[in-house]
């Protein structure tokens, strides 16, 4: 009798463990996509998308927005204004794509440069460093470890980007355009594991400029 009760209990427990689990989503149907705005015009800029407005500073960290989540495959239209100069921009981000819309000076006016990145190098133990080349007169951009001529990134065409994983060390970089130094040394400080950084080459009003920004989505 005891054996029978034990067998029944075992059977009931096994059935419980085979409970019919409800169906639920195991993740999204497509990957996330993002768009950010970068003001390389050296004057204050405004980006307007319907009721949403993003104000970008002329200098410093405030000239780059965070990456805003957008719907992949949907057309995103925005109007950009710097002083009296205006430009319209339209982009469509693919799933998993990070799009940077940069505003650069063009004589008395402005123009937008769109740089797209589909990273696959996410890693929580290393840092990811990118170089964005926003200067159309810089045919081959590169990024070296400052004062050492050790190449981190090479041969980056205008309106494009490359990135690579590096160990989370203190890092000073020198951007290169067509084998010559571009801008001043960019000190990224102590790189943090899992963080993502972009060094930017932009055409300044007087001379090329370089700076870096953390790639933030929040």
């Amino acid at each position: 009798m005891k054996k029978l009760i034990f067998a029944c209990l075992t059977s009931a427990l096994t059935l419980a463990a085979h409970a019919d689990n409800p169906l639920y989503e195991t993740g999204p149907a497509q990957d996330s996509s993002f768009v950010r705005f970068l003001n390389a015009s050296e004057d204050k800029a405004n980006v307007v998308n319907g009721a949403a407005k993003v104000a970008l500073a002329a200098q410093g960290d405030g000239r780059v927005s965070r990456f805003y989540p957008v719907k992949a495959g949907a057309k995103l239209a925005a109007n950009v204004q710097v002083g009296n100069a205006k430009a319209a921009v339209e982009v469509v981000a693919k799933p998993g794509e990070f799009v940077t819309i940069a505003i650069v000076s063009n004589g008395a006016g402005i123009e937008t440069v769109v740089v797209k990145d589909t990273p696959t190098d996410f890693n929580a133990s290393k840092a990811s460093v990118a170089l964005l080349n926003l200067d159309k007169s810089c045919n081959a951009a590169g990024l070296n470890v400052a004062e050492k001529n050790t190449a981190i990134l090479e041969a980056i065409k205008p309106a494009s980007l490359q990135r690579r994983l590096v160990n989370p060390i203190g890092l000073k970089t020198q951007a290169i355009c067509d084998a010559k130094d571009a801008g001043k040394v960019v000190d990224l400080g102590q790189l943090q594991p899992g963080e993502r950084y972009s060094v930017v080459i932009m055409p300044g009003k007087k001379a090329r400029q370089t700076f870096f920004v953390r790639d933030s989505t929040s």
Binding site: A17, L23, Y24, G27, S32, G96, A124, G194
Partner: protein, 219 residues
């Protein structure tokens, strides 16, 4: 009963594998208690890792278990995640165990959504870093191919490999090394029978008790 984990307070949070009696909320919880740990477990079915940073509704139930108490099943509006910072403040764990992988692997989609997964995982690991608490992350097990979740061995392998690169500072426990593909019986490809959950829970408990993991934990 052993004293391998004596003095350790463990907080386990996880998805459906932690949301039903006789799943890991029973077997892993029991295993860690039998090694001397004080254990607090919380499950919210179907949630992604980042959902644990805030109060999030589970779409398919949940459960909680405090120390040697029974598994309390939560349904409907009561099935929620609890914010990670609040859990750490309340239970003061030395070690957090995250059981989360299957709910982010997009088994029905052609591509692994790496950017979305990175965001979900990073939200939670940022909470782990800010609280300076030890952490292990339990990745998906093989399961069986097919079933209503469309799980495949290839995607389980891809997801596990990806998680192993992005969960630091948590130590990754690769569940794929704990059994052979299809070894643990599953009715839906993803969830196991009691024997499977006993084997998985014991194997995770052994991994947590290894010197490699224990030396990462501040007591």
């Amino acid at each position: 009963m052993s004293a391998l984990l004596a003095g350790l307070t463990v907080l386990i949070i996880g998805d459906s594998h932690m949301s039903t009696p006789d799943y890991l909320i029973t077997t892993l919880h029991d295993d860690l208690m039998s090694k001397g740990a004080v254990v607090y477990s919380f499950g919210a079915c179907g949630v992604a890792a980042g959902d644990w940073m805030v109060k999030s509704q589970s779409p398919c139930g949940g459960a909680a278990r405090i120390k040697d108490g029974p598994v309390e099943v939560k349904t409907g509006q009561d099935a929620m995640t609890r914010p990670f910072n609040e859990l750490v403040k309340t239970y003061k764990p030395n070690l957090v165990v995250v059981v989360n992988g299957d709910t982010m692997a997009s088994y029905a989609a052609p591509e692994l959504p790496k950017t979305w997964i990175w965001q979900q995982v990073s939200r939670l690991t940022k909470g782990v870093k800010n609280n300076a608490v030890g952490c292990v992350w339990v990745g998906p097990a093989w399961g069986t191919e097919g079933g209503k979740f469309n799980k495949t061995f290839a995607r389980a392998k891809e997801m596990s490999g990806y998680l192993s690169e992005i969960v630091a500072p948590c130590t990754y426990i690769d569940s794929l090394t704990l059994s052979k593909p299809g070894e643990w019986a599953s009715s839906d490809g993803q969830h196991f029978d009691l024997a499977g959950y006993k084997a998985w829970g014991a194997a995770i408990g052994n991994a947590i008790s290894s010197p490699a993991v224990l030396q990462t934990i501040k007591k």
